[in-house]
């Protein structure tokens, strides 16, 4: 919904995915460099890195596409 001058809900979702993705990606990269003593099952797949990266990418796209300044123009 982005009627009038309101900020689109999809922009808020973009922010959420971007920040969460960045935090998860960072944690994944840190764990890659410093493997934990008790890793989770399938640790070698590095799910934090690719899932965090995916969320970050989608979040970035949403933030740009539904940015308030683009909606007003």
């Amino acid at each position: 919904m982005h009627s009038g001058e309101s900020i689109s809900i999809w922009f808020f979702i973009g922010i959420s995915l971007l920040v969460n993705g960045l935090l998860i990606l960072s944690a994944g990269l840190y764990e890659w460099g410093h493997p934990p003593q008790n890793p989770v099952v399938l640790f070698h797949l590095h799910a934090s890195i690719w899932w965090g990266g995916f969320l970050f990418l989608v979040g970035t796209l949403y933030c740009f596409h539904f940015a308030p300044w683009k909606q007003r123009s």
Binding site: M1, S3, S6, I7, I9, F12, I13, I15, S16, L17, V19, N20, L23, I24, L25, S26, A27, G28, E31, P36, P39, V40, V41, L42, F43, L45, A47, S48, W51, G52, L55
Partner: protein
């Protein structure tokens, strides 16, 4: 579930890292920011209670589904799938999809064209004040009580999973929901529900994906389940020929008629908690599309709820047990499936997102309850019975106060339940008393011009009374289950299905009989309320790809294919 969790030791299932806590705190901050931002757009009653009736089909549809996706729903059904196998998916497919499509295609035009603010409001237009009062008071009471029970349950989950103090969980979550719903009304609730819907998927999706990788694909998963449990756990329909042939102790008639035709239609088409989201749509086409979009996503929720339960049977090194055994042995119960699977695959960051998904589920469910309560209280009790001359500003003010009041009653209920755990079973049963008969009243009102105001009221009352009567009968005389649920082997779940079916039949029968002997309203007064007396806009000028009926057919085909594949 609650009794078990309450009795479990304080030992936590998972440990959060700083990055997990950062993700959780960010989620709370964002939903509050949305509430403060949307306060400026909640000035009129139409804004506050109906979100200005300007939501797109996508937003209304996702919110419609999200209001139902509570954290207990996620954890409870994941546990049920570990216990009963894929049979639990019936609650997502036959127990939801037909009803959601029916709401969109058949019922939504009447709700939307009548411009009602609530389901009790529709009953007022169709049957008069007495039917509205009966359904409004019962709905308002049950909604806040259920909200309180969910709040307590969620706090217990946080205690078991994270070791958090129950008081802390109750206060933080309820204050957050109270702030964003009180400030921004339904629009704020809907925005946050859509956000929380995305978080639920983002936080839960990795479990089935990684689980399938570990199990070696669906075929290998089925083989391992057959070894560890039974091959019947992966069949949806083929074991329902007899009460004794499946772990749920249910017959296909209970699933099809009780769940599929009464309980699910009652919940998805007349429970104002979910219907309110669709009423916020910007036009009739969006209102019809919203439940269809919700149905399309609902079909795939078993991927993040049912599949983790099945995967747990195959990959978890420990055997989960029922509540009593788990308490006695210090082991894990069925209901801990989702947190256990989360801890199995998710490291720092992902774990925080998974926990955020559970919290998001709770907040969206609670926001749905309090916003629906606030609307029904303000329009159907305060405006209809207490202050008939209230102006628009008074409605908004009462909406904000009743939202706070709803949260407060929920908190009181949560603490009440904490001290009297057995009360929970009674309140949950009470809630089920009203759903099936209400559906009988609404559907007859919409589809039959001959249904009279007296018929509607007495049918609703008789249906509700018969449901309470059957429940009390079985409580006082357990052998009565053989009559109510058609088998002495029927489980509690099966009993609920049949009780709903009988109470619906009683409601419909009484409504018809009373209507035959009382005077119906003139057809001119039924315009916009009843099939045959309402001109529903044609879809012929709309391109096929944009027609709700086209997408309803698409969803139906996928729904049938899923049932066939997992037969």
């Amino acid at each position: 579930m609650i009794t078990a969790l309450a009795s479990v030791s304080a030992q936590r299932l998972v440990h959060l890292s700083p990055v997990d806590l950062a993700i959780i705190i960010f989620c709370f901050a964002l939903v509050l920011a949305i509430g403060f931002y949307l306060k400026q757009r909640a000035n009129t009653s139409e804004d506050y209670f109906m979100a200005g009736r300007e939501m797109t089909a996508w937003i209304a549809g996702l919110s419609f589904l999200s209001a139902n996706l509570g954290s207990l729903e996620l954890m409870g059904w994941a546990g049920a799938s570990y216990q009963y196998g894929i049979l639990a998916a019936h609650w997502y497919w036959v127990g939801a999809i037909p009803a959601m499509l029916f709401l969109g295609i058949v019922m939504m035009p009447f709700y939307y064209i009548s411009k009602t603010h609530s389901v009790p409001g529709y009953l007022k237009l169709r049957f008069g004040e007495s039917s509205r009062a009966l359904s409004a008071i019962s709905f308002a009471m049950m909604t806040v009580l259920m909200s309180g029970i969910n709040m307590y349950s969620m706090a217990l989950v946080m205690k078991v999973v994270l070791g958090w103090d129950i008081n802390f969980s109750i206060l933080i979550s309820s204050i957050t929901v109270a702030i964003y719903v009180t400030l921004g009304g339904l629009r704020s609730a809907i925005f946050n529900e859509v956000l929380q819907f995305i978080l639920i998927w983002a936080g839960s999706l990795l479990i089935p994906v990684l689980g399938l990788v570990e199990a070696g694909g669906w075929s290998n998963l089925k083989a391992r389940i057959a070894t560890n449990a039974s091959a019947e756990y992966t069949h949806l329909w083929s074991t329902l020929g007899s009460f004794r042939d499946n772990p749920m102790g249910i017959h296909w008639t209970g699933i099809v008629f009780g769940l599929g035709m009464v309980i699910s239609f009652g919940y998805w088409t007349t429970d104002f908690l979910v219907v309110q989201r669709v009423l916020s749509a910007k036009d009739l086409r969006a209102a019809k599309m919203a439940p269809i979009i919700g149905a399309a996503f609902k079909m795939f929720v078993p991927f993040i709820v049912i599949l983790p339960g099945l995967l747990a049977i195959a990959v978890l090194p420990v055997k989960l047990t029922g509540e009593g055994t788990a308490i006695a042995t210090g082991g894990h119960s069925y209901n801990e499936v989702l947190p256990l699977m989360l801890a199995r695959y998710c490291g720092p960051g992902l774990l925080g997102l998974g926990i955020t998904a559970l919290m998001a589920g709770f907040m969206s469910g609670m926001a749905g309850n309090v916003s629906a309560f606030s609307t029904v209280w303000t329009y159907d009790i305060y405006g209809a019975l207490l202050n008939k001359k209230a102006d628009d500003a008074q409605y908004v003010r009462m909406g904000r106060w009743s939202t706070l009041g709803g949260v407060f009653i929920s908190i009181v209920t949560a603490y009440f339940v904490m001290h009297f755990l057995s009360i929970m079973d009674y309140v949950q049963a009470l809630f089920s008393f009203f759903i099936a008969p209400l559906y009988g009243t609404v559907i007859l009102g919409m589809l039959w011009k001959g249904a009279t105001p007296a018929g509607g009221f007495w049918g609703l009352l008789a249906g509700t009374a018969s449901s309470i009567g059957m429940w009390a009968w079985v409580k006082l005389s357990p052998g009565a289950i053989a009559y109510v649920a058609l088998s002495s082997h029927a489980s509690d779940m099966a009993q609920n299905m049949y009780r709903a079916l009988w109470s619906w039949i009683v409601c419909v029968a009484v409504t018809v009989v009373v209507s035959v002997f009382t005077k119906a309203r003139p057809e001119i007064e039924l315009e916009g309320l009843v099939y045959g007396a309402t001109r529903i806009p044609s879809e012929k000028q709309i391109p096929l790809i944009h027609r709700p009926s086209f997408w309803a057919v698409v969803v139906t085909v996928v729904f049938l294919a899923l049932n066939y594949y997992f037969w």
